[in-house]
Symmetry: C2
């Protein structure tokens, strides 16, 4: 085992999370774009701006089922009893011009003909054959009619590049007649778990071994963005094996290691990466859990994250560094941060940015009990992570803290 | 068109959202379960309880890289300089028994041998060959060792039925050696858009027509739960066509209509459903937007939602009624509700439960400007819906309001 001890760790000064993020985000790059069907667009990120193809509403849209009339008949001439000259259903067109005291029976969603300028809803009428009497005394010109173009004019920007497409946005694409759409391409991703103690999930296990769970956590996180892992490996702490695996992924966009980046004698991921031409950009961050984070740049332009092997550290590092990196690459804004009151006080216990799993309970946040960064149960049933900032002392009940969802 | 006018609407008293929800949720049913690979488990809902297969940590896990010693040597005998007798890497086992003044070099994640009961981290030592001197004066028995079983004992319940599987939960499955898992089966879903004015997204459009966007919104919402639509149709306001489409989906678990449930003369979805043996359970709810909601039960046990055709109404009804129904069927708890302060006051403008799209901005909620329930732009770029409750008058700046994410 003497080979293991010759490795001289490349030390970097421990930097803050903010400094680390700024180094990481500076390496973001566009993965290109691709056209997908609107049916596959959910969760993707727009790579083009979307404009209204016509006015919205595209016509003076009836907003109620009822009767369209000329407001001057009602307001100036005081007419309350009208003759229905025509029925207009959504999708239909009218042919007759109304005269004084005449109205049109109209259904929600119809294009109100230009001759009419108000609609009285069906609930406010008394109907006898083709005669209708209105039980209301007030009427506003234009009432119950959504004016053509009042929501968006033809040519208006309705969705911008870098918008993630969920139900409301996908609906808007459909409204605008976009059956296909340009979205950001997915990066090519490798996830490599390391460690002599780590065995695959479906393999027999010895008492001193643990199962690879980090690659599953990472796959699951990446799945939230529709991302799949192109290369997934589990490697023992063997420099030569590690070197070979790294050689295979040198042209990838994103390579994520878990394990092997700490202070231990078998933590030679950074050294082997350096040997393979990966430029180290940072090692160790003032973050708990997640201090041993390593980050570097592949010769071909991709990036490598070396995450700690502890399950919770690995999950926190994904949320604090990898997800923001991906979002930047996709032109997405920062992930949503909430500011919620703590339901219980929390002691300061690390001179680092500490992230702790919490559940949202009623109007505030309740921290989940944690045993340590290896605790596999601590992140379960939590909604996300709250931040105890480096510069802040004890937190009191009611203090607003920053919170991100898993 | 006279056939259209003979339809006698089945009127129901308008009920509150809470009453409607209770009727809807009473029709929830289990869709069965199925076994999936852990690789496909993200987003699925557990249909079995998951227990720890062994203690976690499975051994006295070294939480730091450093040196394991016997605390009595340090505390009682006052020894500060130790001889390293062995190196222990994660995944390895030790063979030697320590004598007084001897220690073990140990890496994070290793199974600490029973003979040692404390670890001093590498940062606190001075190393000369096989001799190590500790620069610390204090030591706590058990320090830097995560005790076997301290996170979870073998047989402990770690995940319960009705838990949705995201990264932390999928990681826990892997930890527990579960390469496959029992999850709730998906329901068989039909989405039927109706309306003479509605044309498919990729078809030429006339000025008085609009495009089908609701089926895309619904598909996108359902996709959040991994659900796909088995039958998707666009039907004109033609009773006979509608009847045929309904006949085809009588055995489905969930049928969602959009359009045709309002007060209009062409709104005969409820009547045709009733003709086909669908039992109406409610029509019209004190909800804005979304008042015309219809809900009924299929002869085979499935349910039918009739949603208003307006895009925003349709989206709100999905979130307020269909998503809760699905969650109940999956044994999931209610979707997360936040309580956030309004950043601006909001006037009361409907004697109904009003949901209004908002963005989360800083520490509060900012309502998006809405032109009406047909406004296709109003839900865009909002994070979700806030509630102006029926019983509440004007809302003031700073009032905490209930908020759900899209």
């Amino acid at each position: 085992m003497s080979g293991r001890k010759t490795y001289t760790q490349i030390y970097y000064l421990m930097i803050t999370v903010q400094e680390a993020l700024s180094i990481i985000l500076s390496q973001s790059r566009n993965f290109g774009s691709t056209t997908v069907s609107i049916n596959d667009a959910t969760g993707r990120v727009l790579a083009e701006d979307i404009y209204a193809d016509r006015d919205y509403p595209p016509f003076h849209r009836a907003a109620m089922d009822g009767f369209a009339l000329r407001s001057e008949d009602f307001l100036e001439k005081g007419i309350r009893r009208y003759t229905i000259i025509e029925d207009l259903f959504a999708g239909g067109t009218s042919t007759l011009q109304p005269k004084e005291g005449q109205c049109l029976r109209i259904m929600t969603g119809s294009a109100t003909p230009a001759a009419y300028d108000a609609i009285i809803r069906i609930e406010d009428c008394q109907l006898e054959g083709q005669q209708v009497t209105f039980n209301v005394t007030a009427l506003k010109k234009g009432q119950n009619i959504a004016r053509q173009g009042e929501d968006a004019k033809a040519g208006a920007l309705i969705l911008t590049k870098g918008t993630r497409l969920f139900a409301p946005e996908v609906a808007a694409l459909a409204v605008a007649g976009r059956s296909t759409v340009l979205v950001h391409q997915f990066p090519k991703i490798a996830v490599i778990s390391t460690g002599d103690e780590v065995v695959p999930v479906d393999q027999d296990i010895k008492p001193h071994q643990i199962r690879d769970s980090n690659s599953y956590a990472l796959a699951s996180f990446l799945h939230q963005y529709g991302l799949e892992i192109a290369c997934r490996k589990l490697v023992t702490d063997d420099k030569e094996l590690l070197r070979r695996v790294i050689q295979d992924v040198l042209t990838y966009d994103l390579v994520i290691f878990s394990g092997g980046v700490s202070m231990g004698e078998a933590d030679f991921v950074p050294a082997v990466l350096a040997d393979c031409g990966v430029q180290p950009l940072l090692h160790k961050v003032k973050l708990k859990p997640g201090k041993p984070l390593w980050f570097g740049k592949l010769p071909a332009g991709g990036v490598v994250f070396g995450l700690p092997g502890n399950p919770m550290s690995c999950q926190v590092c994904y949320k604090i560094f990898i997800e923001p990196f991906l979002r930047k690459c996709f032109d997405l804004p920062e992930a949503l941060k909430l500011h919620l009151p703590l339901l219980v006080p929390k002691k300061k216990n690390a001179k680092l940015n500490q992230y702790f799993p919490c559940v949202i309970e009623g109007k505030g946040l309740r921290p989940v009990v944690i045993n340590g960064s290896g605790d596999i149960t601590s992140t379960l049933r939590s909604h996300g992570l709250a931040l105890h900032p480096l510069e802040k002392e004890d937190l009191s009940e009611g203090d607003l803290v920053e919170f991100i969802f898993w």
